[in-house]
């Protein structure tokens, strides 16, 4: 969001001082995240309405997801949040090599998450659990409506994954810049702002995990 090109004189002409500029970026980023909340909100609403309408279908279809793969992936993503937080930490201390290291680790963990996600998608594909003409839900209680669960599943995880992919491109950009020593204690706003974005994406997943993977694992609903 802010200029990256001249770290020493990163102050843009229309700001009075660096603090005003950084403040503006921070507020802007949080406002952007609020927009993102509402953006995901539409999907959460669809999920809520349909889970309310077809509880049995949602329970059965949720059991089709891989609990342990999901939990492992959650761990990976939280790990990437930690490395991101550390990258911001070292950026504020101006430790160039450590910034690059932790950004790279974040990239690696983010990539791992997407890899696992791809495996899960592939699995769904093999089992015809993609909503559409060939949809099947082997042994589901209410197969007709299980398609709505998977519509929500792909909608929500798909939008989440899209955010991850965008994030990964930005990390690569940040790593390149960081290697050139663009970020120091006085000015590292891009790293900090990206950190907020990355943590937000993490939070979305923190909610997606129980909502999509953890419905009625115990089979209590089946009665």
């Amino acid at each position: 969001m802010s200029t990256v090109s001249h770290p020493a004189s990163a102050l843009q002409h229309h700001f009075e001082n660096a603090e005003q500029q950084k403040d503006a970026s921070t507020i802007g980023m949080w406002v952007f995240l609020v927009t993102e909340i509402m953006f995901f909100g539409g999907l959460f609403l669809a999920y809520m309405v349909y889970r309310q309408a077809y509880p049995a279908a949602f329970a059965a279809a949720s059991n089709k997801t891989d609990l342990w793969l999901g939990a492992a992936n959650t761990t990976v993503l939280i790990g990437s949040s930690l490395t991101m937080a550390l990258a911001v930490h070292y950026a504020s201390l101006g430790r160039k090599n450590l910034i690059v290291l932790f950004l790279s680790l974040t990239l690696l963990l983010g990539g791992t998450f997407l890899g696992v996600k791809a495996v899960e998608y592939h699995d769904k594909w093999v089992h015809h659990e993609i909503p559409g003409a060939n949809f099947e839900c082997e042994g589901c209680a209410d197969a007709q409506h299980a398609t709505l669960f998977f519509a929500c599943y792909f909608g929500m995880t798909g939008l989440h994954a899209t955010h991850m992919v965008v994030g990964i491109f930005i990390i690569i950009f940040l790593i390149v810049k960081a290697r050139k020593g663009a970020y120091g204690p006085e000015w590292h706003t891009p790293v900090e702002m990206f950190g907020l974005y990355w943590h937000f994406v993490d939070i979305v997943w923190i909610f997606l995990f129980p909502l999509l993977y953890l419905i009625d694992r115990s089979g209590g609903l089946k009665g």
């Binding site: 503006a24 802007g28 609403l45």
Partner: protein
Amino acid sequence: MITAPSPVLTKTNYLNEDHSLKGWMLTKDHKRIGILYLIGVTFFFMLGGMYAALIRLELLTPAGDLLESNTYNKVFTMHGVLMVFLFLIPSIPAVLGNFLIPLMIGAKDVAFPRLNLLSYYIYVVGGLFIFTSLILGGVDTGWTFYTPFSTSYSNGYVLTTGLGIFIAGFSSILTGLNFIVTIHRMRAPGLTWFRLPLFVWAHYATSMIQILGTPVVAVTLFLVVLERGLHIGFFDPAYGGDPVLFQHMFWFYSHPAVYIMILPSMGVVSEIISTFSSKKPFGYTFIAFSSLAIAVFGFLVWGHHLYVASQSVYAGMVFSILTYIVAIPSAIKIFNWIATMYKGSVRITTPMLYAFGFMGLFTVGGLTGLFLASLGMDVHLTDTYFVVAHFHYVMVGGGIMGFLGGIHFWWPKMFGRMYPEGWSKLSAIMIFCGFNLTFFPQFLLGYMGMPRRYHVYPAEFQVFNTLSSAGAGLLGVGYFIPFIYLLWSLKYGRVAGDNPWGGSGLEWKTSSPPIHSNFEVTPVVTQEAYTYTTEEVSHHVNG
């Protein structure tokens, strides 16, 4: 009037500092971006207006003799889509807001100039998507895109139009984000919140709606596009999907969207009435807070579009009572504007005529909104021409009167020249009369039961339809005249001077047109807004 030395244009200003195409197309200057938006919204307004003309021509007679049903459906859909998403939503915020907010708060630019330019290009890309679907053959879903018609039955270009609106939505979001941050962080020293002009308050409230509402309609239309492309079942009853869910999601944004159109207009009217009465707006704080109240309560009432759509009766009652509550802040504004004129020094100028027009039309629009908010009444009126008339009174009567009023008010600031007063007053009166002639008969048609979006209609509705079409002709001419004389004034208009109206805002303290960085020195604010001095009151071009 004191005979001031005849004003001259600023030698170097934002308009003439750089004449290259690149200097315009890649500009980060909020003023130039505002002008770019002005060109964009004018283009789409004229396009949408052409569609409106086709609609009114077709409805001149009961038979469907001018257009085929399919074509007619596409025509009213494109009219709605263009006018709502590409004209009304960006009109005041993106043109006047962009141009004026930094000037009014004494800043050199908005907080994120590059983002500002980006949001302009996002708007252009969204507009191109919609324009392309229009060229390919249009879309016939109505601007509301109700499912399952839009997802499974429409034979138009729902995908490209939906994506276009989705994209244009981000332009609106980013503009709102920019304004919020700008208003929070870029104010000149001494410019506290309660010294801000009401225009800025109105835009702050508008930005809140843009930020909080637009993403929901974006994701909704995205789901419609997915559903139509892949048939995943989100809104398809065949899979158990709920078409009413779509309506909830759509109106969660699209009802507050009306406030995106009307709040900035209210801001404009507050400025105009204060300036031309040379008086601080009566109830400044009430007007400021009523803007915020409208933004907040405006999000609680969307279900009044769903009274007969099989929403629960209980929910209908809740939405109805909340709708009545949100009407109050609007009423407060109207009364405060009138009280502002009391014992003022009133000048009837063109912008003031538009402000009066706004008050008249918005009052009718708002009051008929009370008819529709009333549950038992709405059962008869909803989906009839009464609704069409109501929202045109609000969105056109409110939105466009505010937009034209604002353009006429700040035109001398934007371009440094005056337009011919006689022509401008004539066209303002024509627009007001033409508008009423066009849309008032539609209230009566609606109560008689003529449903909206009807291509062919029973003969007993013809009299009012003919009146309405006649009014539309007058309205069309009324809109066309400003287009001519404003263009003319760019070169031949009288040089206006820095403060032709005797305004008190910071935007009048700098040169006309302003220089690139707005102010030679950052202004320091030491008094409340709307403090009129003898110098300002006397030093003006008399209307």
